[in-house]
Symmetry: C2
Subunit: 453 residues, 2 copies
């Protein structure tokens, strides 16, 4: 346990020094253990395990660009992302792990207690077993706080889902090297630091938001915190009923005309292999690269694999507005390239702005300017975080919460709706509703703290 | 409006007399407008519209039979099933329609206000427009009571879903021929008559159960009605929390190993074409047959199409038990052959018992004997209803609600869980949770009435 985050940082720096790791780029066609299928150009592991990179043909997307082709990761196996919670002196703490992932900007980030692919579970890696997994298998001790199959980045994965779990125990839990207990408040602070709390931790914590907001007793205060607390209060003071929002979501699914079809990776238009990577011809979106990984602290100590490397930083933001003093979030029903059910609830803005530079200004994503041009006093949260370092190389997104003023119109286009935190927190309990970007922003609301000076 | 159901029946008999319709069987290879693909044996319409019949290979089902092949209906288009509700003197009424479907046992059944395939919406039939559709399009007048994409029979459809909607209006609504207003109480009575209220009406009405149970003020009575009312009361008196049940559901998805692959219909093992139909070699399950349809009251007056004809009657039942006076339903997390997400919440028992006659008695579906051998005084509901008459020919299932005694064990196998009506009514608001059979039984709970003598 740490008295404060400064103490955590001393420990963290020491863990960083203790671990040896190195990631270096390798040309795709020299990747050890990986095969470029001669017929399709698809990338696959020689065992047939882990994941493949294939081609996807997308049409009728309903976006500024109606149709395109792209590489996509196919990983049908579902893993477990689990966080163990335990109260010490009545204060809930999470057991997190300082873990190396090859794509992490800074090598080591704070991961969930357990971050296991099915390959981990079944021993395909031939490596060590995953500690603490028994708390997330059935039957298990403790009380389940959340447990739901959630989607991951639909721009890069086809129908990928992982089980997100939070389990609370009362028993003594041995703390292994590289693991530590952090209180909810300490995690709130650490979420304000760039590239430290990894994506898996951020998405799993969305399942703790309800519990966290229950402690949030500022409902009488006439400021952002108060509006946030009232957005959780169950007093019917919302713009739309839950039935209306579910109907809006069903309606959006009805409008979705997205079609997608797997195609051979070698036939994907607009992409080509050069300099050992598979890249977009305008150097936009992402490249598929190869990496060599050396580490002394994972199940296996050396391996090579393909990764997706974004070519620019993304922007992921909710616009929020007080309506009769109650905070409402502007949620988008987004046609998601790779989402299992085609449409998910997404942040107001979710894009790589650089992808639009060749398009007319009128094609810019809706509300992007409201985010990027927001006055500093309207920015409630603004931190750069990494996406999952096991598949994505230095993938960074700027996450923002922007509070717009009363002059911001409540009337919004069909694919958008204003919701309260309580409503989103209800929807996140069900899979296929909030996408990973929306879930992560929801976590930032649940773990919201003012900047401390 | 009818003073009572006797008055309804006079009107209904008259509507039956007024409509002319005839369905007769036609050999599959003589079906007008339908093509047996020479390469695959798949059945498809010459326009490429409506639906196709293809082959499905199923493995690792986790059932008594682990692997099999079967014909399956592919109908990717989503239709709208909508019921219009309006209060007359404070009493809610549904606008239902006496409608012919070729597969109906008795020709005409009570359909929702709107029962429109996407082909209807876009005019593929070249027929008349669908009345009342404007109440279910956007923007629309009135208040949406429920609106969700729901699955249909997963044994016969692959990933088929329809939009289930209930919309309440205050305006005057013109009542066309063959349409009538029926009160919730009258519908309760009619649901106790065999083969009258069609499947689409029964599934849509699951969205009205919450509203119906709100009126159900018998919570203090120590009988089945009282236990049912307490199963709706939101007082935390349930065996499992909602989070625990969602975790149980996620866990079941994790256990599901079901794989399914479309294959050419001509290669399906165990099935062959004889006497103009495609039948199972043991005369079990169902046959794919062709029918010729004549009617004077549909968008088009004559057509031919393939249909699925079950070879035996099915049994669909919930076992329910009072726990501390609160009714609990024994729900099954069922690996569903054709379900979009593989696993859905299903009734305790859902099968065609005849399909098991060649298997050892130990392979009989769990709890089937508890249903079939139930003492008469334990049977709360027992009615034979038809499945959707547009695709299924004389498909009848016996729907039962059986109340077991306090000696029935609360400990149940992993794939089963006890839930309250409130919990199921919450889950039914989200798609991909309750299968069509469970939703229909839920409707019977919501519209429960004692037998009147």
């Amino acid at each position: 346990m740490f008295a404060d985050t400064a103490e955590f940082h001393v420990w963290y720096a020491e863990r960083v020094r203790a671990q040896k790791y190195q990631t270096s780029k390798v040309p795709l066609d020299e990747l050890d253990g990986w095969i470029t299928d001669p017929a399709t150009g698809n990338l696959r592991h020689h065992t047939g395990k882990f994941f493949t990179v294939e081609g996807l043909d997308v049409t009728r997307s309903g976006r500024a660009v109606e149709a395109w082709q792209q590489p996509i990761i196919i990983q049908p196996e579902r893993g477990v992302l689990g966080i163990l919670v335990k109260e010490f002196d009545g204060v809930p703490h999470c057991l997190l792990q300082v873990k190396f992932e090859p794509g992490n900007v800074n090598g080591l980030q704070l991961s969930p207690t357990v971050q296991a692919t099915r390959s981990n579970l079944t021993g395909v890696h031939g490596g060590r077993s995953v500690p603490y997994l028994e708390y997330f298998s059935s039957p298990r001790p403790g009380r389940t706080l959340s447990d739901v199959l959630q989607s991951e980045q639909a721009s890069w994965f086809l129908a990928k889902r992982n089980r997100n779990m939070i389990v609370q125990v009362d028993d003594d839990v041995p703390v292994l090297d590289d693991f530590c207990w952090l209180s909810f408040d300490q995690i709130s602070d650490l979420l304000r630091e760039p590239n430290l709390v990894n994506m898996d931790t951020r998405t799993v914590l969305a399942g703790a938001v309800a519990r966290r907001l229950d402690e949030y007793a500022f409902a009488t205060v006439d400021d952002f915190r108060g509006a946030l607390a009232r957005s959780w209060a169950d007093d019917g003071d919302q713009l739309h009923t839950t039935v209306e929002l579910l109907s809006w979501f069903t309606e959006a699914k009805g409008r979705c005309t997205l079609t997608r079809e797997l195609i051979p990776l070698s036939t994907v238009t607009g992409w080509s292999r050069r300099d050992g990577a598979l890249s977009h011809h305008r150097e936009q979106h992402f490249s598929v690269i190869g990496v060599d990984v050396q580490t002394d602290n994972r199940e296996v100590s050396n391996w090579q694999q393909p990764m997706f490397e974004p070519r620019s930083q993304g922007v992921i933001a909710f616009l929020v507005r007080r309506v009769h003093g109650v905070l409402h979030l502007l949620v988008q029903a987004r046609f998601e390239t790779g989402a299992f059910d085609g449409v998910e609830m997404a942040p107001t803005v979710q894009c790589q702005p650089d992808n639009y530079r060749h398009l007319p200004a009128s094609s810019a994503p809706l509300f992007l300017a409201d985010v990027l041009d927001a006055a500093p006093e309207r920015i409630r949260f603004d931190v750069v975080h990494s996406e999952e370092g096991g598949r994505f190389y230095h993938a960074q997104n700027r996450y923002l919460l922007i509070e717009v003023g009363d002059d911001f119109p409540l009337a919004v286009p069909d694919n958008y709706a204003w919701m309260t935190l309580r409503q989103l927190t209800e929807f996140v309990r069900y899979g296929n509703h909030l996408n990973v970007e929306a879930r992560i922003l929801l976590t930032f609301f649940g773990f919201y703290r003012e900047e401390t000076s």
